[in-house]
């Protein structure tokens, strides 16, 4: 303990807390791992929110994200978005989102995403809310979505990874 200031101790504690929080924000279900689920804050009365995450499949069988449930919304839908000659088109995905063998799928702004339809309450910056994801093969898993500022374009936690 000699020579270690309380300041350094506090800093160490913060660093380890941050690190464990970041690690805790990854989830596993069988061959699948889910990283950094995040969502944008919503306005009072806003009925719909979007969710994003990355799913990695280490197994040798393809899987699919089929659906989900959450206490904060009436319905969880899977959507995709495309830009077509300057026109934004959003469509509900039927048949699930494929998580390829030995690969991953990223749900992010500008592509696949989760829609929380019929929000029961406002999503506030800084909070987390649970969503149970259902897959074709892997068992259902409940993950916590981190609510970020509306201006976010990616998960805050992975910013150190250069994304």
């Amino acid at each position: 303990m000699i020579g270690i200031s309380p300041k350094a101790l506090a800093l160490g504690a913060i660093v380890s807390l941050t690190a464990s929080a970041a690690m805790a924000h990854g989830y596993r279900s069988g061959a699948l791992s889910i990283q950094h689920p995040w969502s944008r804050e919503t306005a009072v009365g806003q009925a719909v929110g979007g969710g994003f995450l990355t799913i990695t499949n280490s197994g040798d069988r393809e899987d699919r994200l089929i659906s989900g449930t959450t206490p904060v919304a009436a319905e969880v839908q899977l959507h995709t978005m495309t830009m077509d000659g300057g026109v934004m088109r959003m469509r509900q995905v039927t048949g699930g989102i494929v998580v390829p063998t030995k690969g991953s799928v990223e749900l992010k702004p500008g592509g696949y995403h989760i829609m929380f339809m019929g929000l029961r309450r406002q999503l506030r910056q800084g909070e987390r809310f649970p969503v149970t994801l259902r897959f074709q093969r892997a068992r259902s898993v409940t993950v916590q979505f981190a609510v970020q500022p509306v201006t976010s374009t990616g998960p805050m936690e992975s910013s150190h990874a250069g994304h």
Partner: protein, 209 residues
């Protein structure tokens, strides 16, 4: 009297000649007009028809007040069409405008940011006010009746259409460009969602110069 008789055929010829010249003149004018029109198609905002772009509109602000092109006149503005349920392009574009405004420093307030919801079925003016307030910078959120929205969409050449989803609800396909308008309500350019911030910033600097 004989003079008139003698002049009769000549004046007939003169009349014919005048008529022919007139036909030639009209044909030339039509030809010029056609060529000019081809080079400057109507609706191409970069042409001499720029003043026709945008045009009059009549929409409702979150506080219930009416906003027209005359209310916005006097300050350049960046206008974007979308809806609050749009998870990607709309928040990303609005966040970007807020970020670019910040980068311009004090000059950032020299232009207005206008967000028009083309989803009056879901977005009431007050909802729109709550939504734009999330972005931490003044944004004018506008919407209107279907007819009022048709008018402004036509003026800006914006496409939007309701698309029914499997669950019975609907989403909206819409043009994602940001239109830059001068203080006089004339078209100045667009910011595309794929353009870099640096390019977009240059366009905004030109707009407020």
């Amino acid at each position: 009297m004989p003079d008139t008789e003698q002049n009769a055929p000549r004046s007939g010829l003169a009349r014919l000649r005048t008529a022919l010249w007139l036909v030639l003149a009209v044909a030339t004018l039509v030809g010029i007009a056609v060529v000019y029109d081809r080079g400057h198609p109507v609706g191409d905002p970069s042409s001499g028809y720029a003043s026709a772009f945008g045009g009059p509109f009549n929409l409702t602000a979150p506080d219930g007040s009416t906003v027209t092109e005359k209310v916005l006149a006097g300050k350049p503005y960046a206008i974007f069409f979308g809806f609050t349920r749009c998870p990607d392009v709309c928040p990303t574009s609005l966040a970007r405008m807020a970020r670019l405004r910040k980068q311009l420093g004090p000059d950032g307030m020299k232009f207005a940011i206008v967000f028009v919801s083309v989803d009056p079925g879901h977005d009431k003016p007050a909802d729109l006010g709550n939504y734009v307030a999330l972005f931490g910078t003044p944004i004018i959120g506008l919407t209107g009746t279907d007819a009022q929205l048709e008018q402004i969409k036509k003026g800006y050449g914006v496409y939007s259409a309701k698309v029914t989803q499997p669950g019975g609800d609907y989403t909206i396909d819409h043009t994602a460009a940001i239109y830059l308008m001068t203080a006089n309500g004339e078209f100045s350019g667009t910011i595309d969602h794929q353009e870099s911030d640096a390019t977009a910033l240059e366009k905004l600097k030109r707009l407020i110069a």
